[in-house]
């Protein structure tokens, strides 16, 4: 019996090695041989971008089949991490949140795709995916935050609509005037709606404030942004954080059902609003896009370039992919970050990584998209800064700041005290670790 145990372990080890050898796929790749690559996506029935990209690529690469594998949108990164660790992840996967790129890259879960990235030319959103001069993913989407506004509610409240020259003080004043004007006109809509996301305050503050640095652990730059948000809540110019949270207000309903005249949000909302208008979940009304309000007047006006924020959405290759599939997977990455895919994405209301004139024309050619010049300017012209700089500390600092966001906007703690506590926690619990 005692001799049997080592024999069983030996046999099992040998079997494992044989099986591992079988899975190697070391045969040389034939570029025209049929090949199937798998692609991760989420909520496939309501998120058409993955099928659009797969169909677009397969149309020009008849020997390649792109097979979609569905994940849960809310738990995408958790599930993907588990699948990568277990060796069952798809060949190509989406980097949904930039703050998790560090984990995937430093954990050796992304293939070097520098050659593909080099062929793309100048793509600003590529930089976050580069480490030590090598690219580990390519961006296919690059949303940016803008100001959506309801032209009809502005008219009803008799307030001049945004003209691209607004600072945050102008926005705050307009929100108050709108609320007063709308009340006088018998409407219950508020002047503004800033959703409960920490991004609606912190993203703009980080992007626009000179020398602001998320990873410095110095969060003084958030103060004026929070003071303005609290002021809007206090005067009823936007729903309180508590109401939005406890009543589960959705930003789609707040703007789409004309409950708010203005709403800072990412450009992904264009596609959502168009779809909701078709389905009846949103009202039909005149709306427009304006540049996000600015830190000061140095970046306002259509002669300047407004500063906003937005993280790219990228795709990378699972290093466990079979060698015969690598070329097809890299070709797919080259396609999704390129101009043809950009036009295809714009055609369904999604902002691709490279916004060109053709992309802008495709998006503004959609039924229901506003046609005014300011909307086109806001969509196409801006400096986009990342909300989540790539670092091993980003997720930890963002968690601290998310808790700070709720404690300030719920009026549980003063701005000064909450920011001081956040700074201490970020430095001691995250950055020093």
């Amino acid at each position: 019996m005692k001799r049997a145990i080592p024999a069983v372990i030996g046999a099992a080890t040998a079997l494992t090695l044989v099986l591992a050898g079988c899975g190697g796929e070391d045969e040389p790749a034939d570029p025209n041989a049929p090949v199937t690559i798998t692609l991760a996506g989420w909520s496939l029935s309501s998120t058409p971008e993955f099928k659009t990209l797969a169909d677009g690529f397969m149309a020009t690469h008849p020997n390649v089949t792109v097979e979609l594998k569905e994940y849960d949108a809310a738990n995408y990164d958790t599930q993907m991490t588990a699948d990568l660790a277990a060796g069952t992840a798809p060949d190509v996967y989406v980097l949904k949140n930039l703050k998790n790129f560090y984990t995937y890259q430093s954990g050796g879960q992304l293939l070097d795709v520098s050659d593909t990235a080099k062929d793309l030319g100048s793509v600003p959103a590529l930089a976050p995916y580069q480490v030590d001069g090598k690219a580990y993913a390519v961006p296919y989407r690059q949303d940016s935050w803008v100001l959506f506004y309801n032209k009809e509610l502005f008219g009803k409240a008799k307030v001049a609509p945004p003209d691209g020259s607004w600072t945050w003080d102008d926005y705050t004043a307009a929100a108050k005037q709108l609320t007063t004007g709308l009340r006088a006109a018998g409407s219950k809509a508020t002047g503004a709606y800033q959703h409960i996301f920490q991004s609606t305050v912190q993203g703009f503050a980080l992007a626009q404030t000179p020398n602001a640095d998320l990873l410095s652990g110095d969060f003084g730059y958030l103060r004026p942004y929070y003071e303005r948000s609290l002021e809007l809540q206090a005067v009823g110019a936007q729903p309180t954080f508590g109401t939005a949270k406890t009543n589960k207000l959705t930003y789609q309903a707040q703007f789409g059902k004309q409950q708010a005249a203005m709403m800072p949000m990412g450009t992904w909302y264009v596609a959502a609003l168009l779809n909701q208008r078709k389905s009846g979940d949103a009202d039909r009304f005149e709306w427009g896009i304006a540049p996000a309000p600015q830190f000061d007047t140095s970046t306002t006006g259509t002669a300047a370039t407004p500063v906003t924020f937005g993280d790219p959405t990228g795709m990378g290759i699972n290093p466990r992919i079979g060698k015969s599939k690598v070329a097809a997977a890299k070709a797919f990455l080259g396609y999704v970050a390129g101009q043809d895919a950009g036009k295809a994405l714009a055609g369904i209301g999604i902002t691709p990584a490279q916004v060109t004139d053709a992309v802008t024309a495709a998006l503004f050619g959609l039924d229901g998209v506003p046609q005014d010049d300011l909307s086109k300017f806001a969509y196409a012209t801006h400096t986009i800064k990342p909300e989540n700089p790539v670092s091993k500390h980003t997720a930890g600092v963002q968690n601290v700041l998310d808790e700070t966001h709720s404690v300030i906007l719920s009026n549980s703690k003063g701005v000064e005290a909450a920011l001081n506590e956040a700074q201490n926690r970020a430095k001691n619990e995250v950055i020093k670790q």
Binding site: Y104, G107, N247, S406, Q433
Partner: protein, 287 residues
């Protein structure tokens, strides 16, 4: 002899294999990971007691521990009182008693997400019926409940008590039905008041049930997770952050699985220690 042994093993093997694979191995791995720095990918780097030393100076860990104790200290007596009260009420021969027992049990089997959504709306500071009622009875400044750092934990405790009281009511009901009715009759003949019968007959008769309920409630309270995650997500700020959510945050959101494992061991040690003390106290009482 060998045949009997083999037959015995063949019966327990499927269950034991499942237990070993899904429980024993992960627990052993957890103990190992607590002494490493591991981000799920690659090799876990052995760091000795570094994770436990880090915990000592981690203010968020202490906040989570304090909140967990806060929840436990209030949740256990409230749930016991509510469930025992319900059990006493529904142990009578009343018309429709089965219906009321089912109604009392319903919260326990209702989706936690649905519970959180409904209770959050009930607690809404501006539009919720709870504050509307408090306003109607003359309370000028009703609490902000889940949106106030001071009231969020009481709000969660109230909902936690409401959710679990039906389940523990069933256990108490079962316990009550094991108490011989002759004892009550004898006490009544001796002139005992209802309160005296409760204290001298019911409470001693429920001793085993009460012990079981206390142990289960203690473990369940220390491990509370889903209710808080969907109701307040630990906020506002860290006002309802509990240890199990802190473990989730460090592990699955920040990919610090080594540190998360170390905090899990502390949570395990607390639950284990308190349960052992409860068993020792109970053994002493029995003897």
């Amino acid at each position: 002899m060998w045949r009997n042994t083999l037959a015995g093993w063949s019966f327990i093997l499927p269950n034991f294999a499942g237990f070993a694979l899904l429980t024993l191995v992960p627990v052993v791995v957890l103990f190992y990971l607590a002494f490493t720095n591991w981000n799920v990918f690659g090799v876990a780097e052995w760091t000795g007691t570094a994770n436990f030393r880090r915990m000592w100076g981690d203010a968020s860990f202490w906040t989570a521990l304090r909140n967990t104790v806060y929840y436990t200290v209030f949740h256990i007596p409230l749930t016991m009182a509510a469930s025992l009260g319900l059990a006493l009420l529904l142990n009578r021969k009343l018309r429709g008693v089965r219906f009321f027992r089912t109604v009392a049990f319903l919260p326990y089997i209702t989706s936690i997400v649905a519970i959180a959504v409904v209770w959050n709306q009930l607690f809404s500071p501006e539009y919720g019926p709870v504050n509307a009622f408090l306003g109607a009875v003359g309370i000028g400044h009703p609490p902000g409940w889940t949106t106030s750092a001071d009231w969020s934990m009481p709000a969660v405790i109230i909902v936690g008590t409401w959710r679990y009281m039906g389940y523990y009511m069933l256990l108490f009901l079962a316990g009550l039905q094991t108490i011989p009715t002759q004892l009550y009759e004898a006490a009544q003949l001796d002139g005992a008041t209802p309160w005296q019968r409760f204290v001298n007959v019911t409470i001693p008769g429920l001793r085993h049930t009460t012990f079981f309920v206390t142990v289960m409630l203690t473990i369940e309270s220390f491990k509370v997770f889903d209710l808080i995650l969907v109701m307040t997500d630990g906020g506002p700020g860290q006002s309802t952050l509990v240890l199990s959510q802190y473990i989730y945050q460090k592990g699955f959101e920040e990919n610090q699985f080594g540190y998360a494992s170390a905090v899990s061991i502390v949570l395990f040690a607390i639950c284990f220690g308190i349960t052992v003390i409860q068993f020792m106290v109970n053994k002493r009482r029995n003897s």
